[in-house]
Structures are given as structure tokens and as C-alpha cells.
């Protein structure tokens, strides 16, 4: 496993596109979070308060979840390169098994998810330190479980992306399919079904793992008040159908396992 990880990292670190996309990912995330934390709607509604400990984990993970799509695109490009340059094929000739080939990419996804996690962790600690006043520092760890949820979500996005590129084998088409599915297609398909069914669609399950923080709900629906963090965990408030946190996490885990199993099945079944 360590050998496979070293090989994957060597490939990734030598690829300029890897650094460019990670740079865009981190840059956009930092830019948006800085802007958002400095917005205020009068004296009573300063968004910075949602970046204080207690709330920051939810706010930051929700914000970071929007950029997971970039990590998915990076996975598509990295795996697409292997098909384009026929290096998957050469690796098997040189002595990797098809399972090793898949495991290498699964490890890359895990590394990228850890990178996302670290970015969120550091950002949360920095914002928390800046916006927390008084004794609230005791709340540092409160709601930090959102980190684990974010990690699962990042894995979900990237695993789905991996399945798409392994299925389609063309980078451009796969990126298009990934973005269209996550942003448009699933919503269209979902509109034909009752919420009780569409809530369980993979895109919805994964994208709504990190719940919308209070300040977004507050600005969208001023009548809604009360803290979301730690009190309730909702899938998607707009659907009217709610899943408990455990069920939601289990469903996300289930989909990730399905994406991985389908990916490895395709790799094993197809000629290279």
C-alpha cells in the first residue's frame, strides 16, 4: 500500500495540473470564506459571529463543501491521464494487478480528502480564534464532528468522480457528466419523484451531508431562528423530508462503497 501511495504521489506531484487545481481550490475557498466572514447586515447580523467556535465547524465545512466539486474534477483529470497516456495498461504489463491500479487511485482520493480536511481544520481554527470572544474558547471542540462529515463528503464526491471517469474513460466528457449530474441532472430527475425518494439520490445524499448553517437560513428565511449546530441535523431543509444524522451518514457510506465496488468491477471486467 505504501509503495502504491508513493507511486501515486510521485505522479501527482509531477503534474502541474494537480498544483493548479489545488491552488484554485484553496484560493477560492479562502477568498469566499474571508469575504463571507466580513459581511454584515446591520449591527444585529454580522456573519463573523457564525465563524466563532461552536458555529465555525458547520459554517466552514458547508462552505468548503461547495469546492469539493473541484476535487472531483481533479480526480477525473488524474485518472483520465492514465487512460489518455495508456499508463494504466503499462502498469498492468509491468506487474501491477488491476486491483492495485484501483487501490492506487483510491489512496489518491483518500490523500485529497485528507488535504481538504486539513484545509478546513486550519481555516476553522484560524476563523474561530479571530471571531471568538471571551470564554467561548471552551467551545473549540463543540460541533467539530462536522470535520468527519466533511471528510466523508469529500470522499463521496471524489469516489463518484472516479466511477464516472472509469466508466467513460474520457476526461472532458467525464468532467461534463460529473458537473451536469451533480448540479442539474439529478435535480431534474428528482423533480419526477416524491421528496421521500429523491432525498435518497446519491448526489443529494452526498452534497447535503454538511448542512446549511444558520446564517444562510437566516438571510434566506428571516423568520427561522435558533441554532442548527448540535441541535438538529437536517438533510436539506427545503425538501421538507428529514433524515437523522446516523441514517444520512450510513446512506453516504453506502453510496461510497457502491461507487468503489462499481469502479473496481469495471476495471476488472474491461480490457485495458
Amino acid at each position: 500500500m505504501i509503495r502504491l501511495l508513493k507511486i501515486e504521489l510521485k505522479k501527482a506531484f509531477s503534474f502541474n495540473g494537480f498544483w493548479v487545481i489545488l491552488g484554485i481550490h484553496a484560493g477560492l475557498f479562502i477568498l469566499v470564506s474571508v469575504l463571507l466572514s466580513n459581511i454584515s447586515f446591520g449591527e444585529n447580523m454580522v456573519l463573523g459571529q457564525y465563524f466563532a467556535f461552536g458555529e465555525v465547524w458547520n459554517s466552514i465545512t458547508w462552505l468548503a463543501s461547495w469546492f469539493n466539486i473541484l476535487l472531483g474534477i481533479l480526480v477525473i483529470i488524474m485518472i483520465g491521464n492514465e487512460f489518455h497516456f495508456r499508463t494504466f495498461r503499462q502498469h498492468v504489463i509491468d506487474g501491477l494487478s488491476k486491483s492495485n491500479v484501483f487501490a492506487g487511485k483510491a489512496l489518491l482520493i483518500a490523500v485529497l480528502a485528507v488535504y481538504g480536511l486539513m484545509l478546513v481544520l486550519l481555516s476553522s481554527l484560524i476563523y474561530g480564534s479571530i471571531f471568538t470572544v471571551g470564554e467561548s474558547f471552551e467551545l473549540i471542540l463543540q460541533n467539530s464532528y462536522f470535520l468527519a462529515i466533511f471528510f466523508l463528503q469529500a470522499l463521496g464526491y471524489m469516489s463518484f468522480a472516479m466511477m464516472i471517469i472509469i466508466l467513460i474513460r474520457n476526461t472532458g466528457l467525464s468532467i461534463l457528466a460529473f458537473i451536469l449530474y451533480m448540479l442539474i441532472v439529478e435535480s431534474i430527475i428528482g423533480s419526477f419523484f416524491h421528496d421521500k425518494i429523491s432525498t435518497f439520490f446519491p448526489g443529494k445524499i452526498i452534497s447535503s451531508l454538511t448542512p446549511m448553517p444558520d446564517f444562510i437560513q437566516f438571510s434566506a428565511q428571516p423568520q427561522m431562528t435558533g441554532s442548527m449546530a448540535g441541535a438538529q441535523y437536517r438533510t436539506a431543509p427545503s425538501t421538507g423530508f428529514e433524515l437523522g444524522m446516523t441514517e444520512h451518514l450510513l446512506m453516504a457510506g453506502f453510496y461510497i462503497v457502491i461507487f468503489w465496488l462499481l469502479s473496481i468491477w469495471i476495471v476488472r471486467k474491461r480490457d485495458l
Binding site: 509503495r3 508513493k6 507511486i7 510521485k10 505522479k11 509531477s14 503534474f15 502541474n16 491521464n81 497516456f85 495508456r86 499508463t87 495498461r89 503499462q90 502498469h91 498492468v92 504489463i93 509491468d94 506487474g95 501491477l96 494487478s97 492495485n100 480490457d271 485495458l272
Partner: protein
């Protein structure tokens, strides 16, 4: 000699097209086996199957008496079709990845790069190399770890005459070390010069297989002449020594049956009162033999 590769009834179809049909072949240690065939004859598909990148529909193959595994493939250096490397990486980095996969020490990279005269370019990106150089990198990569078997598919594709000579020289050097080499090519001269054995494929079917010199000598055309040519014609026609005999003026043009030599033919004629005034053996080139086989 132990069997290195045993192929049994290997078959592959792509839709309605049969790429390889019931291929049976045994390659022994130290053989340099050329796989000949026109484009689309199934050479590359056959190699791709024995290297685990294409699944056979039917049949199986064994390397060293065992069914294929990734560990066995590490003992094989193989180049199928084009060199496959990361264009944005240096030669050294590309070869480090191959070395990691094969479990070979990185120190071997300098040795193989010097074998293919690319030591000075080891820090260059793969994308900056010429086609011939890329082919040589592929050769360097398959020589990493000094594998027991080399499998090469059209290794001189895109090379200039000097490059072709270099590749042939490397193949000869490796075969002299006792390595088993499987070489698919449509360049007959290449196979004739470097191979000890040859397998000829046509439309996915193996149509001839054996030692190169046997395959060529089996169809040597012999021209003889003597004083009473018609008598000798009758005699030889009844003798069972010839597979084909024809009289043209004062000469007989014939092919000997397997197992008979020109010396035996001369002795037979002499014992029957004929002194041959001419014995000419027209050796067939692999090219003419191949063209006859695949027509």
C-alpha cells in the same frame, strides 16, 4: 529446456470479428520467437492477452507452468504497440515509477539508460523526445531489473536505420544472455535476422510454427541436371523423395520431402547410375515463404 510460455486454445473476439482463434503455442527457455503476420492478424491481441491487459474469451496460458499473476509479469519486460509514459515527467521519474512497480532498485535506471544511449537525457521530459528516443526509453524500461523474458511488439516502429540497428543489437545481446524473447513484427528481415523460431499468424489463426531454418529449408527449391534427364525424372517421381518435381529442358526442378537432404539425393542418383552435373539449391527468403503462407 523448460517451457517458459504455454498457450492453449487462446481465443478472442471483438463483436463478430475473430481477433485470435484457438492459438496454441509453446515457447521454451532461450527461444527467440518471432510472431509474424500481416496487420490485423492477431499478433498484438495475442501478446496483450498473455500480458493480462486483454481478457481471452476462451483458452488459457501459463508462464513457467503457472497461471498468470502480477508477480509473474514482474519477470517480464514488455512493450506493446507504443511506448506509454507520462509526457510531463522526466525519463528518470518515469523509470522510477516502472522500477517501483517491478520492485527494482532505482540504481538500475542508470544502467538501462546507458544501454539505450539516453543517459544524457535522463532529466528531459518524455514529451521532448523524438519518436525514436521514446522507443528507446521503452526498451530501457523493459530492461529494468534484467527480466528473464522480453516481449516486444514492433520494437523498431518509427526508428531510423541507426535506431533499428541499435534495437537489433540490444535484442541480440539479450538473446545471447540466454533470455527468452518474443518479438511480434511485420518486418520479415528483422525476424529472420534475430529469431530462432517463428510463428506465422493469419486472420487470428496460427498457420505455421517452428524453427526459422526448418521453416525456410522445408521449401528449398533444388535444380539438378544429368545426361538421361527423363530416366531420372521417372526414377525420382517413383522414389517418394520429392514433394514436387518438374522437368524443364535438361533440368529437373524439385522440392525434397521432409527428412531428405541434397546429399541423399546425390547418393540416390549415383546408386541408380546417374551422375549429377549440377545441383543448385535456391533458398527461400522468409519473405517469400511468408507471402506464400499468408496469400
Amino acid at each position: 529446456m523448460r517451457e517458459v510460455l504455454e498457450i492453449q486454445n487462446l481465443s478472442k473476439k471483438y463483436g463478430k470479428i475473430t481477433a485470435v482463434s484457438n492459438l496454441n503455442l509453446v515457447i521454451k527457455e532461450g527461444d527467440v520467437c518471432g510472431i509474424l503476420g500481416p496487420n490485423g492478424s492477431g499478433k498484438t491481441t495475442s501478446l496483450a492477452m498473455i500480458l493480462g491487459i486483454v481478457k481471452p474469451d476462451y483458452g488459457n496460458y501459463k508462464w513457467f507452468g503457472e497461471f498468470s499473476s502480477s508477480d509473474i509479469r514482474k519477470k517480464i519486460g514488455a512493450l506493446i504497440e507504443t511506448p506509454n509514459f507520462y509526457p510531463y515527467m522526466s525519463l528518470k521519474r518515469n523509470l522510477e515509477i516502472v522500477a517501483s512497480i517491478k520492485g527494482v532498485d532505482y540504481s538500475d535506471i542508470d544502467r538501462v539508460l546507458s544501454l539505450v544511449n539516453l543517459s544524457e537525457r535522463k532529466k528531459s521530459d518524455f514529451s521532448t523526445l523524438s519518436l525514436g528516443m521514446k522507443q528507446r526509453v521503452a526498451l530501457a524500461s523493459l530492461l529494468l531489473g534484467d527480466p528473464e523474458i522480453l516481449v516486444l511488439d514492433e520494437p523498431t516502429n518509427g526508428l531510423d536505420p541507426e535506431g533499428i540497428a541499435e534495437v537489433r543489437s540490444i535484442i541480440k545481446q539479450e538473446s545471447q544472455k540466454g533470455k527468452t524473447i518474443i518479438l511480434a513484427s511485420h518486418i520479415l528481415d528483422e525476424v529472420e535476422k534475430v529469431c530462432s523460431h517463428v510463428a506465422v499468424m493469419k486472420k487470428g489463426v496460427l498457420i505455421a510454427n517452428g524453427r526459422v531454418n526448418e521453416l525456410l529449408s522445408s521449401d528449398d527449391q533444388i535444380i539438378i541436371s544429368t545426361e538421361r534427364i527423363s530416366d531420372l525424372y521417372d526414377l525420382l517421381s517413383r522414389s517418394g523423395m520429392t514433394s514436387k518435381i518438374d522437368q524443364q529442358d535438361y533440368e529437373l526442378i524439385l522440392n525434397l520431402e521432409k527428412g531428405y537432404t541434397t546429399t541423399m539425393l546425390n547418393e540416390f542418383a549415383f546408386k541408380n547410375g546417374h551422375v549429377l552435373s549440377k545441383i543448385q539449391v535456391n533458398k527461400k527468403s522468409l519473405e517469400s515463404q511468408f507471402l506464400e503462407l499468408v496469400k
